[in-house]
């Protein structure tokens, strides 16, 4: 647990430093993810403690968005004044985004032989 947390933070820190040093427009944590991913490729497997801690954090991923979400309080005036365009834009663009991405992906990968079955995973 402690070791894994250190590993995750180190990857993030390395990502932040790389982004700043090389003036990349990419956020540090995303580079950290790439770094850890490459590390796992080199090592050729996920160590048990990492699997456990990562699983634990990701199970409650949505909790981590709560503090930023409460920021809605600070913008009530604008949200009220532009309620219709904001609501329509968020609803429309999100549903378009989810549907279009998934649809394009499923159309294009249908050609590969095992596309539908997802390697033996059950599909509804």
């Amino acid at each position: 647990m402690l070791g894994t947390l250190t590993l995750l933070l180190s990857c993030q820190l390395a990502g932040e430093l790389t982004a700043r040093l090389l003036h990349l427009p990419v956020p540090g944590p995303v580079l950290g993810m790439v770094l850890l991913f490459v590390g796992l490729l080199v090592r050729g497997g996920v160590p048990e403690p990492l699997q456990e801690t990562a699983g634990g954090i990701l199970r409650h991923l949505s909790l981590l968005f709560v503090p930023a979400g409460v920021g809605v309080m600070a913008h009530l005036n604008r949200l009220e004044a532009e309620a219709l365009p904001i609501a329509a834009a968020l609803l429309g663009s999100t549903l378009i985004g989810v549907a279009l991405t998934a649809w394009v992906m499923s159309i294009l990968s249908r050609r590969s032989p095992d596309a539908e079955s997802g390697n033996g995973e059950d599909v509804p």
Partner: protein, 240 residues
């Protein structure tokens, strides 16, 4: 109010402990409601938690900044959690490699469509330029979205709110719209949620299926990259 009580109140409303505890309690209340009523996606735990906390703060007269002093410890974990997404991604790497071309085309289409349709709809309904610019990066995870928003002249904190709302919308209606367009492939369903709705979409995908979760995490990471690079360029094309 007795003096003792008053002192305690002053301590509580200024201490980070209260904000932090409130966040965890509200989230667990949200989870409880979500589980209790049959895991209905419309009862998104994040939405319930946000409403509970906002209501509590307003009643108690505590401003957002004071609350965030405590809640930032939770907020901070977004970074390590993003890094941790490498694990499900690695476990699905064989599948990712097999569908690399499909992923890339879907990513670019979905990324552009999310940002452009948001701005177009807002523009058509008469939103202010500030609001439109704050909407553009709303599909990617909040640290990236806020950075991009600042770069193109939006309001970062408003963008953070749009990011969360986008996630809640996708978590609530994502399965419905995916069924509507008849996509049954878990990889595609997950990828769509991740590209269009970052971490909250990914959290939703992880709840449903591990393959979907891994592809959602991948979609979130990749769209973070694409949006961070592409949006500032698009902005220069359209707005200057």
């Amino acid at each position: 109010m007795s003096p003792d009580f008053h002192e305690i109140w002053v301590y509580l409303s200024a201490s980070p402990l209260a904000g932090l505890t409130l966040t965890l309690v509200a989230y667990q209340a949200g989870m409880w409601v979500f589980e209790r009523f049959g895991r209905r996606p419309a009862l998104n735990p994040v939405m319930i938690a946000v409403l509970l906390i906002a209501a509590t703060l307003m009643v108690a007269g505590i401003d957002y900044r004071t609350y965030f002093d405590g809640a930032q410890f939770v907020h901070f974990l977004l970074g390590p959690a993003t890094v941790a997404l490498a694990v499900p991604l690695y476990r699905q790497f064989q599948q990712v490699r097999r569908s690399a071309v499909a992923l890339l085309v879907a990513l670019l289409t979905g990324s552009a469509a999310s940002a452009l349709s948001a701005v177009a709809i807002a523009w058509a309904l008469g939103a202010s330029e500030r609001t439109m610019l704050s909407l553009a990066p709303k599909s990617v995870t909040s640290p990236i979205a806020m950075g991009v928003s600042e770069q193109i002249g939006g309001l970062p904190s408003l963008t953070a709110v749009f990011v969360i709302l986008t996630g809640i919308i996708a978590a609530s209606f994502g399965s419905w719209v995916l069924n509507l367009v008849r996509v049954t492939d878990w990889r595609a369903r997950g990828f769509g949620l991740g590209v269009a709705a970052h971490g909250i979409g990914t959290a939703r995908a992880l709840q449903v299926n591990e393959v979907a979760g891994a592809f959602a995490g991948l979609g979130m990471g990749l769209n973070g990259l694409v949006t961070a690079i592409l949006l500032p360029v698009l902005y220069r094309l359209f707005f200057t």
